[in-house]
């Protein structure tokens, strides 16, 4: 079980207020790691630190290291743009570009210097996200005409088109209906064969269903962290047990 992302003593500040306190976590390669916790506990903040998306917000500060493939991404000489090319992100509300399905997938690859065959790229990514059969005849229509579930699968396809090592997912199914949710969950489970996935979810059952490891956060602190089965069946901390049994949340 090789760890691909290592977070060490990581602190994060929005202005004066501290959102993450001394977070230390490892995420393993080709596994699905879930971040769970009540609203405002910092799980989304932590996720967005892994691909340095929080740099885009004014007046933020971080301390500590995050390494991906043993390379510290918070060193001064590291370019956040490069980091985001290696770490893909899927957002809570599906956000395809208001362009064609083809353009959505191809654009990210193009700006990253892709020189290969575009048709193959489009077909392979859409096949991997189980969308190819549904859209192969309308690749050049606007992506916004797809259903919510299809749009989210398109966003996943768009993310894997740039060949990331890690995919971060921020509550990817919270805006979808149960049928679409089920399809995406099975897709994610397929994807872990090739990618390492970190998923933030509000839905504990989802974390229980699909993840291999789970971390429970509360008020910006990692309360407990370990294999999903153990966390859910045998939590060590009292707070973890209370959250899982629904006493707060």
């Amino acid at each position: 079980m090789k760890s691909i992302i290592q977070i060490k003593n990581f602190n994060f500040f929005y202005g004066e207020s501290q959102a993450l306190h001394d977070v230390t976590l490892d995420f393993n390669e080709n596994q699905i790691s879930a971040l769970i916790g009540p609203s405002g506990c910092g799980k989304t903040t932590l996720l967005r630190c892994i691909n340095r998306m929080n740099d885009l917000i004014d007046d933020t500060r971080s301390e500590g290291n995050i390494t991906i493939h043993e390379k510290n991404i918070y060193l001064a000489e590291v370019d956040p743009v490069e980091v985001r090319r290696k770490v893909g992100m899927v957002f809570q509300k599906p956000n395809p570009f208001p362009k064609t399905i083809w353009d959505n997938i191809v654009w990210g690859a193009k700006i990253n210097g892709y020189t290969g065959n575009l048709e193959e790229l489009v077909e392979s990514t859409l096949t991997r996200t189980a969308l190819w059969d549904e859209v192969k005849d309308k690749l050049h229509t606007n992506a916004l005409f797809l259903s919510g579930g299809q749009q989210q699968r398109l966003c996943i396809a768009r993310a894997i088109a740039i060949k990331p090592d890690v995919i971060l997912m921020d509550e990817p199914t919270s805006a979808l209906d149960p049928v679409a949710t089920a399809r995406i969950e099975s897709l994610i489970t397929e994807l872990k064969k090739r990618y390492s996935i970190v998923i933030v979810t509000h839905n504990m059952q989802q974390a229980g269903r699909i993840s291999d490891c789970t971390s429970f956060l509360l008020n910006g602190v990692v309360v407990e962290h370990g294999r999903t089965k153990e966390i859910f069946l045998n939590p060590k901390e009292k707070k973890t047990e209370e959250y899982i049994s629904g006493e707060f949340g």
Binding site: D79, V81, K86, G113, T115, E120, S124, A161, K163
Partner: protein, 310 residues
């Protein structure tokens, strides 16, 4: 299926900062664009101030005399701004007084008494009125309004050049601005206030004048200040209708040159670049600039301070 996703350039390996020359260049270019607006303001201030300094440096001109003496006749060395200032204020005052009843009544009507459908028809008409160039209004003033005034009040009372005609037409010019701003201000009053009033059995009229207007008082005041500021800065209408003879008078039926009229007359003629006439237009321009700037800032402050915190 071949894994075609491996065809990215090898530069992908490292995470280090790439020197993106293109991005830096674009950043610099865009920064330069933003600087233009600073240069414009600095330019205006520097130019107006420096040329005015030359004006005041001339032995014929004194600062006190500029603001207090009653005659503006550069050819005989009289440099008192009061006649020009007075004419400007007179025309603007006439403009605002003329426009006020129309502006308020129409704005209340649009915001409180009509359906959105009718409003959607009237708005474009107002936009057309607002889009007419001021020189066309000037033609209207001198070609139609002045003769009408002469017919009504007698051509002995009303001179060919007069400030009343200019004032009325400037009033028409600022009417769309006033209506739009007052209407915006009225509609921004939260609906629950109106409902409270209706709930007490008030008519629409009582609600408008008793609740909505007092509630948007700051917005209405700001609108009038802005309208007045616009009227002060108006040039072509006064140049055509108010005449080129400077006179210190409150009779609206006589001609009187305004500050803007003077600037456009002098600069439109043959001027030598270092004469006192040339420098005087900058001194007048400086007063105009400071006045409109002051009014605009006050207007914005009022709106911000008394905005509805919904």
């Amino acid at each position: 299926m071949a894994d075609s996703t491996t065809n990215f350039s090898q530069k992908q390996a490292s995470l280090e900062k790439k020197t993106r020359i293109g991005e830096s260049l674009i950043h610099v270019v865009l920064f330069a664009c933003a600087l233009c607006s600073i240069f414009t303001t600095v330019g205006i201030v520097v130019i107006l101030a420096s040329q005015s300094a030359l004006f005041f440096a001339d032995p014929q001109v004194t600062l006190l005399g500029f603001f207090t003496s009653f005659e503006w006749q550069p050819s005989i060395g009289k440099f008192g701004i009061l006649p020009l200032l007075n004419a400007t204020l007179l025309t603007s005052f006439i403009a605002v007084v003329f426009a006020t009843p129309f502006a308020i009544l129409v704005a209340i009507f649009l915001s409180e008494f009509t359906k959105p459908r009718i409003k959607a028809i009237i708005k474009p008409i107002l936009e057309v009125l607002a889009g007419i160039p001021s020189v066309v209004y000037g033609y209207f003033a001198v070609g139609t309004v002045t003769p009408v005034l002469q017919r009504v009040f007698g051509s002995d009372t009303v001179e060919f050049y007069n400030t009343a005609s200019a004032g009325i037409v400037i009033g028409i010019l600022i009417l769309p601005i006033l209506i739009t701003m007052i209407d915006d201000s009225l509609t921004s009053v939260p609906n629950n206030l109106r409902e409270a009033s209706f709930g007490l059995g008030a008519t629409r009229l009582q609600t408008s004048f008793g609740v909505v207007i007092p509630g948007s008082f700051s917005g209405i005041a700001a609108a009038f200040i802005l309208g007045f500021s616009r009227a002060i800065g108006e040039t072509m209408i006064v140049a055509l209708a108010a005449g080129a003879g400077s006179a210190l008078t409150w009779n609206p039926f006589r001609g009187a040159e305004t500050m803007t009229g003077y600037i456009v007359r002098i600069s439109g003629g043959d001027i030598s670049y270092n004469s006192i006439d040339y420098n005087s237009i900058f001194a007048i321009g400086l007063v105009l600039f400071l006045a409109t700037l002051g009014l605009n800032i006050i207007s914005r402050r009022i709106v911000k301070k008394y905005q509805w915190n919904v």
